[in-house]
């Protein structure tokens, strides 16, 4: 994938398929450690031990095998190619946590990309679920963060559906501007 935000879109689609009600996306860039980590936590149906073992191994993954696809192996490969790590844990009936870390300065790391586009599509596709995105940047001069929570937005919106075009557009602008501000000129 050309952007990490596309991986995020894809990994969150798994959470949606697993019928999660709340999906938390944590994006933490630590420039002091040259580490960018992306974690997707959901409260969906989770996976059995057997399936969990299979999905983490890219070599047993073929499109023909039922239940095993491309999304997780691609995310894992993207992390490892940049000198990072990949981890997945899951419990049936409880939920799943997918975590990937990346070397920020690695030339094999794809850019983070347009997170607002990913969030816009997720909200359009699943207006009834809730999404949290915690975005953090750590540098020598300290920690800056931006937190986005659809539960707060829905409260403000009252009875207006969140997936109306005008609403999605302004949410996208809101996310984009806040990320830009949080980045403070740094490029991810």
């Amino acid at each position: 994938m050309r952007e990490l935000s596309l991986h995020i879109l894809d990994i969150v689609q798994n959470s949606i398929k697993a019928e999660a009600d709340l999906i938390i996306i944590d994006i933490e860039a630590d420039f002091t450690a040259d580490r960018l980590s992306v974690t997707v936590t959901d409260d969906g149906m989770g996976m059995s031990k057997e399936l969990l073992e299979k999905v983490t191994d890219p070599f047993t993954t073929t499109r023909k095998t039922r239940n095993v696809g491309m999304g997780l192996p691609l995310f894992k490969m993207a992390a490892e190619a940049s000198g990072g790590e990949f981890d997945i844990s899951s419990k049936e009936g409880m939920g799943t946590v997918v975590k990937a870390s990346f070397g920020i300065s690695s030339i094999d790391r794809v850019p983070l990309g347009e997170l607002e586009e990913t969030m816009g599509i997720l909200l359009m596709g699943s207006p009834d679920r809730d999404f949290i995105m915690n975005y953090q940047i750590r540098t020598q001069s300290g920690l800056k963060e931006f937190n986005f929570d659809t539960r707060e937005i829905k409260e403000e919106l009252d009875d207006i559906p969140i997936d109306e075009y005008e609403i999605i557009s302004s949410i996208k602008t809101y996310i984009k501007e806040n990320i830009k501000e949080t980045n403070g000129g740094l490029v991810l």
Binding site: G69, G125, L157, S170
Partner: protein, 122 residues
């Protein structure tokens, strides 16, 4: 932190819009874009956004842009299917944002299928 621009103004505007929309809700045209791994990797996200923005720009309130999983033909992604009430489903393949805009103006607005992106041409 920046706040969402005029959420109150948007809410009021939307309340008016929604109040007038109910009548036409049933005969919806649907555009369904494949949004599984294969679709996303091939560029489905900007295609989705282009469909959405073009439909909004042309004020096509009865057009719904939605997502589906893998349509089963990964090498033809990004793919989209257009459902117009009373017409046969049209499957479009290998799309980009430009193609999406053309499908909205030529097919959905003017009723002419954009043949160069239909499946059977492959």
């Amino acid at each position: 932190m920046k706040s969402i621009a005029d959420i109150n103004a948007i809410r009021e505007k939307m309340q008016k819009v929604l109040g007038t929309r109910d009548a036409q809700d049933d005969a919806d045209t649907r555009i369904v874009i494949g949004m599984a791994t294969c679709g996303i990797a091939a560029g489905a996200r900007p295609v989705f956004t282009a469909f959405l923005e073009e439909a909004a720009k042309r004020n096509l309130g009865n057009v719904k842009v939605t997502q589906s999983g893998c349509l089963g033909m990964c090498k033809f992604e990004p793919m989209a299917q257009v459902y117009i009430p009373g017409k046969e489903v049209v499957t479009y393949v290998k799309l980009d944002a430009e193609a999406a805009k053309r499908i909205v103006s030529e097919h959905i607005v003017n009723g002419n299928v954009v043949a160069e992106y239909t499946l059977d041409i492959e």
